[in-house]
Structures are given as C-alpha cells and as structure tokens.
C-alpha cells in the first residue's frame, strides 16, 4: 500500500514568532526524507503538524492526494502516521510491553492475552537484539531503563502500529552508534516494505548515510530540497546557515584576544561534575562574553545550574580568586551571580503575579520593613524603561506579556541587583527579532561595564556574532574551543555534530 504525504504552504505562528512560514514537504512510499535545519528552524513544529499535535494556521496536508485535517494525535495514528517523539510518551511506572501496546492490547475473550503480548513485545525487541542490556525485557518497568533503552521502546511503540509513514524526530539523539546502525538497517528494511520515513536529525553523518532526499528549513521556510546523491554535507550546512543574517542582527565590537588575556580571570571552574557533566573546566575573564554551544542536552543546562548553586556538584568553582561552593541560589546571588533559566515560563516567571513582583522577587530584602513600595516601583520602573519593556503598567500580570517582553522581565529582575556574573540559558529562544536586537545591545553594554557573562545559546548565529570565545559541549564535556578566526558557522556546526577538539583548530 503505497503512501504519499505532501505538506503545502504550512504556516504556524506563536504570538509574534513565526515558527513555520509557508513550509513545504513531499514524501512518497519507500523513501527516506531527511528534514534538516539549524536549531529553531521549525523542524519540530513541522513534524508536529504532520502528526496532528499542532494545528497549522494555514496550508494544506495531503495524504495520498486527499486533504486531511487531524483533530488529534490519535487521528493521525489511525491514518497510519506514527511518530517517535523526542519527549517520551511513555508511562514510567508501566512495563515495556504495557507501554508499547497501550490501548491496543491483544485480547482473548475480552481479557488481555499476556502471552501473546509478551511474545509480540519480544519480537519487537528482537529487532534491536544485542544492542541493549539484558535488563531490557517485556516485563520491566520503563522507569528502570536507561535513556537509550527508553528511546528504543519509544521507537518500537511507534513501529508496533505498523505505520505507513514513520516520523523519527531526533530519534537517534540518545542512541549509541551500534543502536543507530541497527535502526538504519531496520529503516532500510521498512523502506523496502513501502513505508515512508521522515528522518529529523542534527547528525550530518547519519543524514548522509540514510536519507534518499533532503528538505532544508531555515527560519520556518523551506530553502532547499533535492536528492541526497546530488548534495554534499557542506552544501547542506551552507543551506542551513544564513551568513548574511549573522551580520545584520547579532553583532558586537569585541576586544581582541590579547586585550582579553590582560584582564583577570573572574570565574574559574575545575573538573565540575554532576549527573550530566563529566568534568568541565573553564576560565572566564572579567567583562568577557563566553559562549557555550553544542547540540541540545549536552550538559549546558547542568553547567549553568550548578554554577548558580541549584544543583549538587563536585569540583571547584573560583570567583575572583576565591573558592566558593554554593548549595542554594541564595548563596550564589549573594556572591553576585545571576541566572536567566532556560524555561522562561516554568523557571523564570511567576505567571499570575505582577511585573513589579516578578522584577523584585530577588530584591525584596533590600526594601526594609514595611517594604518601601514607592522605591520598589521606582527602581522597577527604571529597569523596565531601560529594557524598553512594553507593558500596561507594573501591576499587569506577566502572563499577559509577549515572549520577548516576558524575557525582559526575567533579565530585569537580575539587572536590579547589578550582577557581576550573568549566566544565560538560551535566553532568546522564542522571542522576536526586535527584542533579540535589543537584548544583544544590552549584552554588549553589560560586558563593557565589566559583567562576566556565560551565555548558552541554541542559536549558532548569536554565538558567532556576539561571543568572545565559544566552548562547544558534547556529552557533558567541553569538546572544542572556538575563538577569533576559528569561530565560524561551519566550524561551530561541525564541532556540534560530534567533532573533537583538534578538528576545530585551524
């Protein structure tokens, strides 16, 4: 049963941010299509449109030539479209077999036929035989598994409905090379069976190996497609990166390497370890803007949280020559650190509270008893106008603000404390271009004032355009350091995709 899916002129906006801008895609039975693009190019949104999780604002989905509208993920599943989710859709307390067959349990006389279920699960697991621990068995609860094994279960759950179109969204991100090879053998087999496969990945080597055709997204637009045989990896990278855009927005006058070297080291980290970090060492100079790059989830978040005292760690942290060990954000704050966390809504804001309270939470202790509200309003108002915060008033709840304005509130609450060290966890994600430009100016200004900044971004353009140096993280370690002439888009992508330290040096 041949299948074809085409997505035509799909547009999806989130507030002011355009995630997809007339994106197109075409896939037929028996082919593997690689959907590629830099971070934030709209790949995830696109796959979520195809599997019914996200409803597009405009555009058309054609399945076998017929227009389709999926009311729910369930509807897409029934149409034979199955997705391996990046965020796991498994119930941790339930076993592997229970998770795979949930809502589709084999029945005999109205009761679950456990024997058949176990057998079918074992058959599915056999597809990956030899690539996982013996612990992975049909009757093991999912929460006892390692991340790669969970990912395998997630893949098998998607495969178990015998889909006609399979979407693999970053399905290889937590798999090791053997598991990836096995997956590719399976993909080749499924292709022969006439299934269509959409493959989303950051790993260029994998894309080149598995895909028949490619489709490149940039800023939500389809900027290129074609047969894989006609393109090289560097062609694709060139399509993903828009060098011109770098120049236009993210720019900052940077001190030379020599100038930086004369400044004193204000933050030094030696052999920092957490559950995700395998020994990170780094130095940042006073007033330096240090970028942290790499694929998502390589330990960047842990690094920033540990420095801010929010995560237990081992290793040594030295601030201005003084060894410190913060075990609560309060202590880090007292030493002049500030953190803009990665998930704005969940970690940075008090949604139902006012802008004033959001700006002043870390600072109330400075306003005496009873709190000097007039002064609090004055300082908050001053920082709001410095950040050009667009609001109805300080008493407006932050839940009503746009992404960019809400992020200004998160940054503003730390500016009120004049931090000497600013830790930023992907601060521009989901905010519009105008707010980004203002934010870049602010960073430049802060650096000039001597603030030491550690800046993780999933947007490579920012790292290249703004940072003095960029450390690329891979698997909980720093894999390469890019600065000056080596700090280019190509090098950054190459390093992110698993290159090692020496590759980056010119």
């Amino acid at each position: 049963m041949a299948v074809s899916l085409s997505a035509r002129n799909i547009t999806k906006r989130y507030g002011a941010v355009v995630a997809l801008d007339e994106a197109n895609l075409e896939i037929r039975a028996g082919e593997v299509l690689a959907l590629i693009g830099a971070n934030g190019s709209g790949k995830s949104t696109f796959t979520r449109v195809m599997n019914g999780v996200v409803a597009p604002d405009s555009g058309q989905l054609l399945l076998d030539g017929r227009p389709m509208r999926f009311a729910s993920p369930r509807a897409a599943t029934n149409a034979g479209i199955s997705t391996v989710f990046q965020e796991l859709s498994l119930v941790p307390q339930m076993t592997v077999a229970e998770n795979i067959w949930l809502t589709r349990e084999p029945l005999r006389r109205g009761l679950i036929d456990r024997t058949t279920e176990q057998r079918r699960t074992a058959d599915l697991l056999a597809l990956f035989a030899g690539t996982f621990r013996s612990d992975l068995a049909p009757d093991v609860p999912v929460q006892a598994l390692l991340p790669d094994e969970k990912q395998i279960v997630e893949i098998l759950k998607a495969v178990s409905i015998n889909p006609r179109l399979l979407i693999l969204d970053e399905a290889t991100a937590s798999l090791d090379s053997r598991q990836v090879q096995r997956l590719f053998e399976l993909v080749a087999h499924w292709k022969e069976q006439g299934k269509a496969i959409v493959f989303v990945s950051h790993r260029m080597a994998e894309i080149v190996q598995i895909a028949d055709r490619y489709s490149v997204l940039r800023n939500g637009r389809t900027v290129g497609e074609g047969a894989m045989a006609d393109a090289t990896a560097s062609d694709l990278v060139a399509l993903m990166v828009e060098e011109a855009a770098v120049a236009s927005v993210a720019q900052r006058a940077r001190p030379s390497a020599e100038q930086l070297a004369t400044r004193r080291v204000s933050l030094q980290v030696d052999d920092l370890r957490t559950a995700e970090l395998n020994g990170v060492s780094l130095q940042v100079h006073e007033g330096e803007l240090l970028g942290i790059g790499g694929l998502k989830g390589q330990g960047q978040r842990d690094l920033l949280l540990a420095l801010f005292g929010s995560l237990p760690y081992s290793g040594r942290v030295t601030l201005d020559g003084q060894a410190v060990h913060c075990s609560h954000p309060r202590e880090a704050m007292a030493r002049g650190l500030a953190l803009v966390p990665g998930e704005r809504g969940r970690e940075g804001l008090l949604a139902i509270r006012s802008i004033l309270e959001n700006l002043q939470i870390p600072s109330w202790r400075d306003y005496g008893f009873p709190l000097q509200m007039e002064r609090a309003r004055r300082t908050a108002g001053a920082v709001a106008s410095r950040l050009n915060l667009i609001m109805a008033g300080l008493d407006q709840p932050v839940s009503g603000l746009s992404g960019g304005n809400a992020q200004k509130v998160v940054i503003g609450k730390w500016l009120l404390r004049n931090p000497r060290f600013l830790l930023l966890d992907d601060p521009t994600r989901g905010i519009d271009v105008g707010a980004k430009a203002e934010f870049y100016r602010l960073l430049a200004q802060l650096c000039d004032e001597g603030t030491t900044i550690v800046f993780y971004s999933s947007d490579d353009d920012e790292l290249i355009g703004l940072c003095d140096r960029v450390l690329v993280m891979h698997d909980g370690k720093i894999s390469s350091e890019l600065a000056g002439a080596t700090l280019t888009a190509t090098n950054l992508i190459a390093a992110s995709l698993g290159a090692t330290r020496q590759e980056a040096t010119p």
């Binding site: 993920p73 859709s89 119930v91 941790p92 339930m94 949930l102 679950i112």
Partner: protein, 322 residues
C-alpha cells in the same frame, strides 16, 4: 536517574514494607493475645477490620488513578444511616436485601458526583472531595439526626458469626475482592487506570480515555465505601451518622502503608488490605498492652502519622548516609 538498592527492592515488591509491618504487628499481637489465630478470635477481629479493608480498597483504586477521595468516610455514614433507618431492627428480610442493593447504588452515585467534578469539571480532587464530604456528612445527619435504628439480628448474626471451613466470612470477602481485582488487572481498563495515574499526558497522547477512567475510579471508590458501610452496619447492628468519619484518614493511611503512592500510577489492593489489617492490629495491641485509656487515641494517631511519614523518613536518612 540513578536509584538506590532500597528503591529497587521496594519498586519490585511494593507490598514488602506492608508485609514486614504485618508480620511484626502479628507477632506482637500474638504475644499479647496468644489465641489470635483461633478461628473464633480471628473471626471477631476480621469482622471488625473488614469495613476499613473494603473502604481502603476503593481509596487505593482512586489513588492508583492519580486522585484521592476524602469523602469515603461520609459515604459510609450515609449508607449506615440509610440502612439503619430504612430497615429497622424488626425489618423484613426482603426489604433489607433490597435496601442493601440500593445502598450500593447510593455509593456509586456519590462517587459519580465526585467524579463529575474532578474528571469533567477538572477540579482538584482533594478540595472537591473534601467539599462533597461535608455535603454527604450533612446528608447522613439529615437521614439520621440521632444515633438509632438498626438491622434485624438475622443479618448481624450472619455477618458476625459466619465461619466456613474454620475461616471467617471476612476472609472470603477479601478473597473475592482479590479475585475481582486480578480480573480487572487483565482488562484494558486496568491498564488504563495505571496509565492515567502514572502520566496522564502520555496516556492522553496514546489515546486512553483519561477523563472517563478518572471518573470511573471515583465510582469504584463510592461502591467500595458503600460495601464498607453495609459491613459496618451489619457489624454494629445500629445506626450512627458519624460512624464513617475515622475511616477517611485510615483508608488513606492503609493505602499508603500498602505501597500505593499519593502520586498515582502504582500499587495494588493487596497492600492496602494488609495496611488496613495492620491498623486494626495496632489498635488491638494498644488496648492489650494496657496503654491507659486516655492515651490510646494519641498513641494510635501518632503511629498513623509516623507510618505516613515513614517513606519520607527513610528517604531522608538514606540521603544523609550516601
């Protein structure tokens, strides 16, 4: 996330903690009351434990589904008040049987009321069932303003004195509920219940009818509370509109001791049954250990709080030692 040996062991054997406590409680109890396992003594104990056991099973079902039911005690009271007033000490056996059947529907109706608010109106389970508990408690008091009424001795004697093959009636009831549960575990519904309690978003994405499952768990809890109400009525033979009050906390405690986490998605009913028996044995021990009368409530309550806090204490101590 790395897990400790203790977590691993308790994960694989959720009833282990309850089983250990049960053995200890039994041992102490037998020391103080050597004839505990004689069939007459066993019967006189089990018939007292049975109401809580039934209510705790219902509570566990709701908790597995990710909710909680604070109104079970009040539902027990409603059923008790209903039976005591509508049957009467000299009531006719036919009416009595019909009324007991009706009581089951009353329990399910009360559960459906809770389920409607929690599952379909999406209100917080704790506060919703807390509010409905007041409504139900008022209803019980309305039906039976002052303690009184009763059921014919024919029925109470059947409940109190039935011993088959040397085993008390209560054990057969327990066996029946365990068999029913084993059956439920083999249905899709059983799977859905755990999925909904474990990770509702994932269950929803996979196509589980989350709201309907949540709703049904409250109906089951109401039904079990009604059964508990019938049992307690047959045990006491009289009516008291506040008879169910202590069962609410006890049922939650029994479920927690029995390895059912408040976070949902795990546990079963064997553990809560053991938990309920343990709570009953602790009461026994307190009274046999010559604890002064005035101290008994305090000691009992303190043990309950300690049991509820036990997982937290173990966790805290373990973290200190690592």
């Amino acid at each position: 996330m790395r897990r400790s040996r203790w977590q691993d062991v308790t994960y694989r054997n959720p009833y282990l903690f309850a089983l250990l406590l049960l053995i200890i409680a039994l041992a102490v109890n037998i020391l103080l009351q050597p004839n505990l396992v004689a069939s007459a003594t066993l019967n006189s104990n089990m018939r007292v434990f049975l109401p809580l056991i039934l209510v705790a099973i219902g509570q566990a079902v709701v908790m597995i589904g990710g909710g909680i039911d604070i109104s079970v005690g009040a539902i027990v009271s409603v059923v008790n008040a209903l039976l005591a007033t509508q049957i009467g000490i000299n009531g006719d056996p036919g009416t009595a049987t019909i009324m007991m059947g009706a009581a089951l529907f009353v329990g399910m109706g009360a559960g459906a009321f809770n389920g409607l608010f929690v599952a379909y109106l999406r209100l917080q389970p704790i506060i919703t069932t807390f509010a409905s508990s007041f409504l139900f408690a008022g209803l019980a008091l309305f039906i039976l303003p002052n303690p009184g009424g009763g059921v014919p001795s024919l029925f109470t004697a059947f409940y109190r004195e039935t011993i088959l093959l040397g085993l008390p009636l209560a054990l057969y009831v327990i066996a029946l509920t365990l068999a029913a549960w084993a059956l439920v575990r083999q249905t899709r519904y059983g799977r859905y219940l755990y999925a909904v309690g474990g990770k509702p978003d994932a269950a929803y994405e996979t196509g589980v009818p989350v709201r309907a499952v949540q709703f049904s768990s409250y109906v089951v809890s109401g039904l079990m509370a009604a059964l508990g109400g019938i049992a307690i009525t047959l045990l006491t033979g009289s009516g008291n509109a506040q008879v169910g009050d202590p069962l609410t906390l006890s049922s939650i405690t029994a479920a927690v001791i029995g390895g059912t986490p408040l976070s949902g998605g795990a546990g079963g009913i064997a553990g809560p049954i053991m938990g309920a028996v343990i709570l009953g044995l602790v009461r026994n021990i307190i009274s046999f250990a010559n604890v002064e009368t005035w101290w008994q409530t305090f000691v009992n309550a303190a043990i309950i709080v300690l049991a509820l806090a036990m997982p937290g204490i173990i966790n805290l101590v373990r973290r200190r030692n690592v």
